[in-house]
């Protein structure tokens, strides 16, 4: 009688334990999925910001036409790639296309920022100063969103690969961290003088 009660209690405890592990895995999976959607939101923000930026800078950067055109072209390419990736979530080739396009955009933007540094008039312009702050912030947001996603992926993968989570990891596939800039994308953008 007592034995039965003890066994029953043990079984209940074990089941509760298993449930909490399972829920922990689900929570972590949803956390990293949500973190991924944050990256997309911030990329969109960047795409929306660029036309304004270029419009304001145009008047001051007459001699830097090439730089501005490169930014616009990279922005359009990234925007297209983002739509393709959104249409096919999880498709590795669409993801690779997106990260390549965003890497190229990061490259042209950092060059634009470097060029803009050399134009005191442009830096003094208030609209431009606001846009620059927004651009700086957007670049940071993308980096931090990516970092949060990668941290969430690490936490999720740790949970599903270590004991006791590994016992219940069957329905939880491993997640990939997100690298926006592979070495070859660096090569893809070249400066032309």
């Amino acid at each position: 009688m007592y034995l039965l009660a003890i066994v029953l209690v043990l079984v209940v405890v074990l089941v509760l334990w298993a449930i909490s592990i399972y829920n922990g895995l689900v929570t972590r999976r949803n956390a990293f999925r949500n973190a991924f959607s944050q990256i997309e939101v911030q990329l969109k923000r960047r795409h929306d910001l660029i036309p304004n930026l270029v419009e304001t800078a145009k008047g001051y950067l007459k001699h830097e036409r090439g730089t501005l055109e490169a930014v616009v072209a990279a922005r359009n390419a990234a925007s297209t790639a983002a739509k393709a990736a959104a249409a096919a979530p999880g498709d590795p080739s669409a993801m690779a296309g997106l990260s390549a396009a965003e890497g190229a955009l990061t490259g042209t933007l950092s060059r634009f920022l470097a060029v803009a540094e050399a134009y005191p008039d442009l830096k003094a312009n208030q609209t431009m100063a606001q846009l620059m702050e927004e651009l700086t912030s957007t670049e940071n947001r993308i980096a931090f969103a990516r970092q949060a996603y990668n941290d969430a992926v690490m936490s999720y993968n740790n949970a599903r690969e270590t004991f006791p989570g590994m016992l219940l990891a069957g329905p939880f596939p491993a997640a990939q961290s997100f690298e926006i800039q592979a070495p070859e994308e660096r090569e893809a953008v070249k400066v032309a003088f």
């Binding site: 470097a114 540094e117 050399a118 606001q130 702050e133 912030s137 970092q147 949060a148 941290d151």
Partner: protein
């Protein structure tokens, strides 16, 4: 050598802080249980000794006093357990009352009470805009909803706090001083710290502990009331022993409640300090930049953070304020930086050269220990250095084309005939030639001791060069350096630094790790140290001593024999350095420590030594703050 601090293991630090919190909470629960037990036993004893109604009842049940076990059992059943129930109920009610009182003020109410003004998300005021942006960036990094931002307009000190019990209802407030005086990186660190408080529910933990401490103080309060009632009663009532019971019970409650609340408060503060360490470590996780928060803390330490608001003490329960914090120096140290007290010259606005007032040895050793680590004093020195460069040169360093021209201009010789030959080489590409000619006068103003620092400034922009442009630069640099038929140490060092930086653009893979122990690269290490030893001196005995100092700093037992002076060529050194580049990072740090000790053995750093050391650090891929060369020191040249 001790490993350079600098990189904090922020995941481990967070886990440790959470573990310590857990232990403290267990202690806290134990303290409450002990308090209740002491009060319980005290009251029960008083009741049975004074033979009050309950006590008499207990004896009546057993009938015989010597039946000890029966007595104890009955005593427990009739007295101890009911009294414990009453005491616990009192504590629970007191806790609930305090919890309601504390929870009444949401995050918004607290921020307003301290004079906070909500900042509009869409504000266009530059400082506020930046604060809003940084907060939103950090909320992204912490993966929590963006809290409302308040600014304390009347507070000019640097401070910030988070309030609100859940991430959804949290607010973050910053003082006007923090918005105005902190750089973007520092503000990022501070807001990341506050967001960790939000993420980890620190305000809620603190409120709960406070409510529990409040519950214990209610015991003491009731005790005091009982005492005053028994004291104020007439002698007639006291003789009827009711007064005695009240006195005893009141005393028991007062003592137990007061002691319990005292220890509870201590434990609560210890928990709060652990949450601060947790928030610091989490801030590093979110920003991946320990320097930002450390630098903000240094500013707080030097300027103070006290809030002027008369309501400030009432808000002391908030995370982020007052004595609930660990010492600021300890926090900075855990972030891997030196506290500001040690380097008062690192404060903004004091444009003193970092070498002023410190022996080169001390500075050099600090620099060697600081490899790969950025401290506030380096930032201050870097600002001074940057300000000392002609604007034309500094501007050119920021974009690839200018940086390329600048690297070439840095190799132009002072002798006019030689210089025109060099310019002819560069002018094979007319636009480049024009840019180098334009930069030449600006570069001429830079003293040689600072020229490699100017190159450092230009290196990042060189990443933007295409493979063809990178190859052309390497070719042109070699041509300029050899225009006079000899290669100086400066020319060699500059080329090495540029080539190492351009390696990815030139399609060279990073060096694989082939050596983990010093024994595997002993020959190359000896070659390197010998070269350094001979660079600083021509005296064989002094060179021998320099080598010994370097060998000792690397922790080698036994003696190495210095290689003869006439043995060194640029090509040999190139070879040795590329082999040493295949060492594992800890081994590289050891090698660099040996190299720095070798240079510092005679207590002075010559220009040649400083340049060679930079080239060595650059070749190993280790950043190294400038070793200030002794003024007017002789320059040495490699063969």
């Amino acid at each position: 050598m001790a490993p350079a601090r600098g990189t904090m293991d922020f995941f481990a630090a967070q886990a440790a802080a959470k573990r310590h919190t857990f232990v403290l909470v267990v202690l806290f629960v134990t303290a409450i249980a002990l308090t209740v037990a002491v009060a319980d036993v005290g009251i029960a004893l008083v009741l049975s000794r004074t033979a009050g109604p309950l006590g008499r009842g207990a004896m009546a049940v057993t009938g015989r006093e010597e039946d000890a076990i029966g007595l104890v059992t009955t005593w427990m059943g009739e007295l101890l357990i009911p009294v414990a129930g009453v005491v616990m109920a009192v504590v629970a009610l007191g806790t609930a009352w305090h919890a309601l009182r504390l929870a009444k003020d949401g995050g918004d109410a607290v921020a307003r009470m301290l004079g906070g003004r909500p900042v509009d998300r869409l504000t266009q005021e530059p400082g506020e805009r930046r604060a809003v942006n940084v907060l939103e960036e950090m909320a992204l990094a912490a993966a929590i909803p963006v809290p409302r931002l308040y600014q304390l307009d009347s507070e000019s000190g640097i401070n910030a706090f988070a309030a609100g019990t859940t991430p959804e209802r949290a607010v973050v407030a910053v003082t006007r001083g923090a918005v105005q005086k902190l750089t973007r990186d520092e503000l990022q660190g501070v807001l990341a710290h506050e967001l960790s408080h939000v993420l980890n529910h620190d305000a809620r933990i603190n409120l709960r502990l406070m409510a529990l401490v409040g519950g214990l103080t209610v015991l003491a309060l009731i005790g005091r009331v009982l005492l005053s009632v028994s004291d104020g009663g007439s002698s007639y009532r006291r003789r009827r022993s009711g007064g005695g019971v009240l006195l005893g019970a009141g005393l028991a409650l007062l003592v137990a409640g007061a002691i319990g609340a005292f220890f509870g408060r201590l434990i609560r503060l210890a928990v709060s300090r652990q949450r601060e360490f947790l928030a610091d470590a989490a801030a590093v996780q979110f920003t991946r930049n320990p320097g930002g928060l450390a630098s903000a803390l240094s500013k707080v330490a030097s300027e103070g953070s006290v809030l002027a608001s008369p309501h400030a003490p009432e808000a002391a329960h908030l995370s982020g304020l007052f004595s609930t914090h660990p010492p600021i120096e300890e926090r900075i140290r855990r972030l891997g930086s030196e506290p500001a007290g040690a380097t008062p010259s690192a404060r903004e606005g004091e444009a003193s050269h970092p070498s002023a007032g410190a022996s080169p040895e001390a500075l050099g050793l600090a620099a060697a220990a600081a490899v790969g680590r950025l401290a506030p004093e380096h930032l201050a020195a870097a600002r001074d250095l940057l300000a000392s460069f002609p604007p034309a040169a500094a501007d050119a360093a920021r974009e690839p084309f200018g940086a390329r021209a600048l690297a070439l201009a840095l190799l132009l010789d002072g002798e006019p005939g030689l210089r025109s030959r060099q310019l002819a080489v560069v002018s094979a590409e007319p636009a480049l030639g024009a840019e180098v000619t334009r930069l030449a006068p600006a570069v001429d103003q830079v003293p040689r001791a600072r020229r490699l620092s100017l190159l450092d400034l230009a290196l990042p922009a060189l990443d933007g060069l295409s493979a063809d442009q990178a190859q052309a630069l390497v070719r042109d640099l070699a041509a300029l350096a050899e225009a006079d038929g000899r290669l100086t140490l400066y020319e060699w060092s500059l080329q090495r630094l540029v080539r190492r930086r351009l390696a990815p653009s030139l399609g060279q893979a990073p060096a694989p790790i082939r050596a983990r122990a010093l024994e595997q690269v002993e020959v190359e290490a000896l070659e390197l140290l010998s070269a350094l030893a001979w660079t600083g001196t021509v005296d064989p005995q002094a060179a021998e001593r320099a080598l010994e100092a370097g060998v000792a700093a690397m922790g080698v037992r036994g003696t190495w024999r210095i290689l003869p002076r006439d043995r060194f060529t640029a090509a040999r050194l190139d070879l040795a350095l590329s082999r040493l580049d295949e060492a594992a990072p800890p081994l590289k740090a050891t090698l660099l420590a040996g190299a720095a000790a070798c240079v510092l053995s005679d207590g002075r750093v010559t220009l040649g030594e400083s340049e060679l050391l930079r080239a060595v650090a650059g070749s190993l891929g280790l950043p190294m703050p400038t070793l200030p060369p002794a003024e007017g020191a002789p320059t040495a040249t490699a063969a």
